[in-house]
Each structure stands twice: as structure tokens, then as C-alpha cells.
């Protein structure tokens, strides 16, 4: 347990001593700001038009859902920035020798690393609440939808972080980890949308839904509708556990090489 906190403390320092964390968080909030501004503008136009009896208005729920969809997309592709250096950098600096000649278990290392990256993402989610707070102050969105969406975001981003941790453990440099991670995320995104469109039957199994089931993306959508299915929560937690288990194995296997 002490090992986990020691690793987390050190990782937190590393994140905030380099400008990368500030830049990424800054860029994230900036893009969210632009999206928020644009969406609210569109919402107002529609609201005005519908009052005049011109066209149908869009609901506040629709606005929030769109906002969260965009946020999920941006954050997903920002996760590699926080995971790329987790293990690759230790390899480059030869610091695995420090970590594993200390009485630290590989599991503690993996969890400490994962939680530190997860902490940064949670911080970004907390900061993003600024925009949602405006909507709550001046409108009356369904708070249950907001809550479940945040939960879904945290869980699905946890999946991407655990995937990134695994890739960082395999790759030798952070640049390679970043590129592979990016491609892997695109792939997950791809199988989700392909899965929704194709209907290939091979044997007794319909492959389309299987493909989209495998990708974490589809599991997030129900959260965004304000519905928390236990099966989706289980899916996310299983995904994270499995990825961290693999990471643990990869890290441990370094001892045998």
C-alpha cells in the first residue's frame, strides 16, 4: 500500500513539473470553451426560432448530450499523453532497477502508475464541470443524466488509460507508446462504428454487435442517456482489470530478460 502512494506522489510531481500536463489541460479547457460557446449559440438560435413558431427547438438535454459526446471524444484521444511515459520513461532512465531493487511489488507499481494517470483525468473532469455549472445555473438540466454521464466518462477513460499503461509497458520509448496508443484508440473507435453497420453472420453468431460490444465506446452511450446498466459497469471494470493484469505480467517479465 505504501508503495502505491509513493509511486503516485512521484508521478504527480512528474506530471506537474513538466509543462505537458498544463498544456494539455489548458488546450482541453480551451477547446471545451469554444465548443460550449458554439453550442449555446446554436441552442439560442433554435430556441428563438421556435418561440417565433419557425422551427422546432432543441432541448437542453440534447445540448448537454452533444457537449458530453464531444468531451468524451477529446478526452479519449488525450489519454495517450498521460500514459505514454508511465513505463517507457522508466525504461529509458534505467529506473526500473531502482524500483525493483526496492521492496516494491510489481502490482503496487502498476496500480500506483494507473491511479496517478487516472487522477489527472479526474481532475480534468472536475474542471470541465465549469461549463456544466453554467447550464445548471441558467437552465434546469436533468442532474441524473449529468451524474451518470460523468460516471460513464470516468469509467471509459479508465479503460483507455489502462490500455495506454499496457502499451507503455511494452514500448521502449514514449514516442512509440504514443503512436501505438493512438492507433489502438482509432481501432477501438473503428470496430464500434463498423460493428453498428455490418451484419455478418458466421455460424450462429451475429458479428456486428459482438464487434461493437468489444469496444468501450458503445458502453459509454447508455451512460450518456442517463441509464446506468450494471453490465456496462462490469464491462468497464473487467476491461481495466484485464489490461492492468497484462501490464503487470509485462512489467514482471522484464526480470527474465
Amino acid at each position: 500500500m505504501n508503495g502505491i502512494t509513493a509511486i503516485m506522489k512521484k508521478e504527480a510531481r512528474s506530471y506537474f513539473y513538466s509543462p505537458v500536463a498544463y498544456i494539455v489541460i489548458g488546450v482541453f479547457l480551451f477547446i471545451m470553451g469554444i465548443i460550449f460557446y458554439t453550442f449555446v449559440g446554436i441552442y439560442q438560435q433554435y430556441a428563438y426560432a421556435s418561440r417565433m413558431g419557425g422551427s422546432q427547438g432543441i432541448s437542453l438535454e440534447r445540448l448537454i448530450s452533444q457537449l458530453f459526446q464531444n468531451m468524451a471524444f477529446i478526452l479519449t484521444f488525450m489519454t495517450p499523453v498521460f500514459t505514454m511515459k508511465l513505463f517507457a520513461e522508466e525504461k529509458r532512465q534505467n529506473t526500473f532497477e531502482l524500483l525493483f531493487t526496492a521492496p516494491l511489488r510489481p502490482g503496487e507499481l502498476v496500480l500506483g502508475k494507473f491511479f496517478s494517470a487516472f487522477g489527472i483525468i479526474l481532475l480534468m473532469l472536475v474542471l470541465s464541470f465549469v461549463y456544466i455549472a453554467f447550464l445548471i445555473l441558467w437552465g434546469n438540466p436533468d442532474l441524473r443524466v449529468v451524474g451518470s454521464t460523468y460516471l460513464g466518462l470516468a469509467l471509459s477513460l479508465g479503460c483507455y488509460l489502462s490500455l495506454g499503461a499496457l502499451i507503455s509497458a511494452i514500448a521502449n520509448t514514449q514516442a512509440v507508446a504514443f503512436v501505438i496508443n493512438f492507433i489502438a484508440l482509432l481501432f477501438l473507435w473503428l470496430i464500434q462504428s463498423v460493428g453498428q453497420r455490418v451484419s455478418v453472420k458466421w455460424g450462429a453468431i451475429e458479428w456486428g454487435p459482438v464487434l461493437s460490444y468489444l469496444s468501450p465506446l458503445g458502453h459509454f452511450n447508455t451512460f450518456a442517456e442517463g441509464v446506468i446498466h450494471l453490465k456496462d459497469v462490469v464491462y468497464f471494470l473487467t476491461f481495466i482489470t484485464f489490461m492492468l493484469f497484462l501490464t503487470h505480467k509485462v512489467v514482471e517479465s522484464n526480470r527474465w530478460r
Binding site: K9, S14, Q93, N94, T95, L98, P103, L104, R255, W256
Partner: protein
């Protein structure tokens, strides 16, 4: 304190460490000598529990490295070949991280860090970024990291490599100051290093131990070389000297002065005999001085596989 038995490590087909056995007593300083790639680093990595062995057993402080690695790791400090430092941290933050990693209780943390800083003379750079440190300081931070938790055993992999002469002598005195408190193993390929600090050396070549001796013995038991400077030198003197019992070889060097280099067994009587022979030949003895077969030559002999019996 440390017992290594029939240790072997293979990387694929290549055998890095080949069936070696040795032991180290409590409080001893052991020098691990060998060329680059001889298997020193691999052996040390296995001793610290960082790497798994292919075969054999290692017990450190009574614990088996493979069965209870955590117990072994608690009792050892290790400085790898490249100091494992985080460039983005300050020296004080780095040491604090290592202290946490080592599970040092909060109450003792400050005193332990202070002690390590003092021992390694890091006071001046305590609040400097590690990325900005010179090589000598980086090495010292590495050593501080290895001793912060007061380990019984300290293993240092080439602690003086890349340091300037002043830093080398500082590192040496640091190593010597650890004597008696701790058991120390350190590797190097610099011989003067070993002669200056170690109690005992193990010479390793191509993964095998080729010699295992106390430092005193090496220097006393070797053959002795005597350099004799004379005014007149001829083949007759050489012939006479060769007849003396115990003399192994005689070389006449005549550039500038006349020098006879005699390689012989150690012993005062033999020295007297040699000088008498030279004087009897009316060669005009100017100077006669013994040259000890250096550790350097001893080592090269071992590595090259030839003995100094020319």
C-alpha cells in the same frame, strides 16, 4: 552474509554467468573485477533480486533471493551502472521518494535523508534539479540512494566510472568509510581502485571466476622484478645472473643507460646474491631497485590466460 552457489545466467544461447560460486563475509569489501561484458553486472543484478537466474542459488543475509526477494531487497542497497535518477525531480524530492519506496517510517525519514546527504556531501545541491547535476554529483546521488535505508549490504556497480580524479578519490573515501558497518561488493575494471579499497577480489572473465584472492596475498606472492642500473654491461653479466638460483629471466636494456631487468622469486637472500654477482663482475653498480609485479600485470595474466613465468 552472501552465499552464491553454482549460479548461471543465460541470455538465449549466450551464457553470461557460468556456474560461479563465492561467498562474502560480514563487513568485508569485495572487489569484483573483470572486463566489460565479463558478467559482473549480470551477477550483481541477480544478487539484488532484480533479475532472475537461470540456475543456482543465492542467499543474502540468510534469505534466498528467489524465494523471499522482498526480505533481501530490504537489506540491500544497489547502485546500478547508470545511476537510476529522475531528471525532473530535485535531489531532496528524489531522496524522499526513495525513502518512501524503501518504506522508511515518516518519523525517521528526515534524519535518514539528512544522513545520506551528509555522507555523500550533497548539501550544496540538495535543492537542485537532478537534470542539472554534473556526472560526479549524479553518481553521489546514486550512492546516497543506495545507503539511505542503512542496508547491511551495499552493492555498487562501477561507482567511479566517468569521474574525474578528485571525485574518484572522494568516492573511494566514501566507500572506505562504509567499511566495518556494512558488507560491500563493488565492481570495477580499474585496478588501482581495488588495491586502494578492497579486502579481497574476485576476477571474473567470460562468466567464470578466474581468481579469488585477498589483496595482500596477490601483492606478496607474485614474482619480483629488480631493475639494476650499471655503468658497464655485457653478455657475461647476463649469463652470470642467469646462473643464479631463483632467477627466472634477465633482460638487458641499453638505451641511454644500461639497465638489467631481472625477474626472480621474492626473498632477501636472492637479492643479496644478485647484487654480489653484479659487483663481482666489476660492472659498476649504480642503482638496484625492486619492482613489484603489479596488480595490473597479475590481472592481465589472468585475463589473457598466461602466467608470469616467462
Amino acid at each position: 552474509m552472501i552465499e552464491v552457489r553454482e549460479l548461471t545466467k543465460r541470455y538465449g544461447d549466450r551464457v553470461a554467468v557460468d556456474n560461479i560460486s563465492f561467498s562474502v563475509k560480514r563487513g568485508e569489501i569485495l572487489g569484483f573485477l573483470g572486463q566489460n561484458g565479463a558478467g559482473k553486472t549480470t551477477t550483481m543484478k541477480i544478487l539484488t533480486g532484480f533479475m532472475a537466474a537461470s540456475a543456482g542459488t543465492v542467499s543474502v543475509a540468510g534469505f534466498d533471493v528467489f524465494e523471499s526477494p522482498v526480505e533481501v531487497k530490504k537489506r540491500t542497497g544497489y547502485l546500478p551502472e547508470t545511476p537510476p535518477l529522475y531528471n525532473e525531480l530535485l535531489v531532496s524530492e528524489y531522496l524522499s521518494f526513495v525513502a518512501d519506496l524503501r518504506g522508511i517510517p515518516k518519523a525517521q525519514k528526515k534524519t535518514k535523508i539528512d544522513r545520506a546527504v551528509e555522507k555523500c556531501q550533497l548539501g550544496d545541491v540538495r535543492n537542485r534539479l537532478i537534470a542539472h547535476l554534473s556526472k560526479g554529483y549524479r553518481q553521489r546521488v546514486g550512492i546516497a540512494q543506495a545507503i539511505i535505508h542503512d542496508p547491511e549490504i551495499v552493492i555498487l556497480d562501477e561507482p567511479t566510472i566517468g569521474l574525474d580524479p578528485k571525485q574518484v578519490s572522494e568516492a573511494r573515501s566514501l566507500i572506505k568509510s562504509m567499511k566495518s558497518e556494512r558488507t560491500l561488493i563493488y565492481s570495477t575494471h580499474i585496478l588501482s581502485e581495488v588495491a586502494a579499497t578492497c579486502d579481497r577480489i574476485i576476477v571474473i572473465d567470460k562468466g567464470k571466476i578466474v581468481a579469488q584472492e585477498a589483496i595482500g596475498e596477490i601483492q606478496a606472492s607474485g614474482l619480483i622484478k629488480v631493475e639494476i642500473v650499471v655503468r658497464v654491461a655485457n653478455d657475461q653479466i647476463v649469463a652470470r645472473l642467469k646462473e643464479v638460483r631463483g632467477v627466472r629471466s634477465v633482460n638487458l636494456i641499453t638505451n641511454g643507460s644500461n639497465r638489467l631487468v631481472v625477474e626472480a622469486e621474492a626473498g632477501d637472500e636472492l637479492m643479496a646474491e644478485i647484487s654480489k654477482t653484479v659487483v663481482n663482475q666489476n660492472a659498476g653498480l649504480v642503482r638496484m631497485s625492486p619492482v613489484k609485479l603489479s596488480l595490473e600485470e597479475y590481472y592481465l595474466d589472468l585475463i589473457g590466460g598466461r602466467r608470469a613465468t616467462v
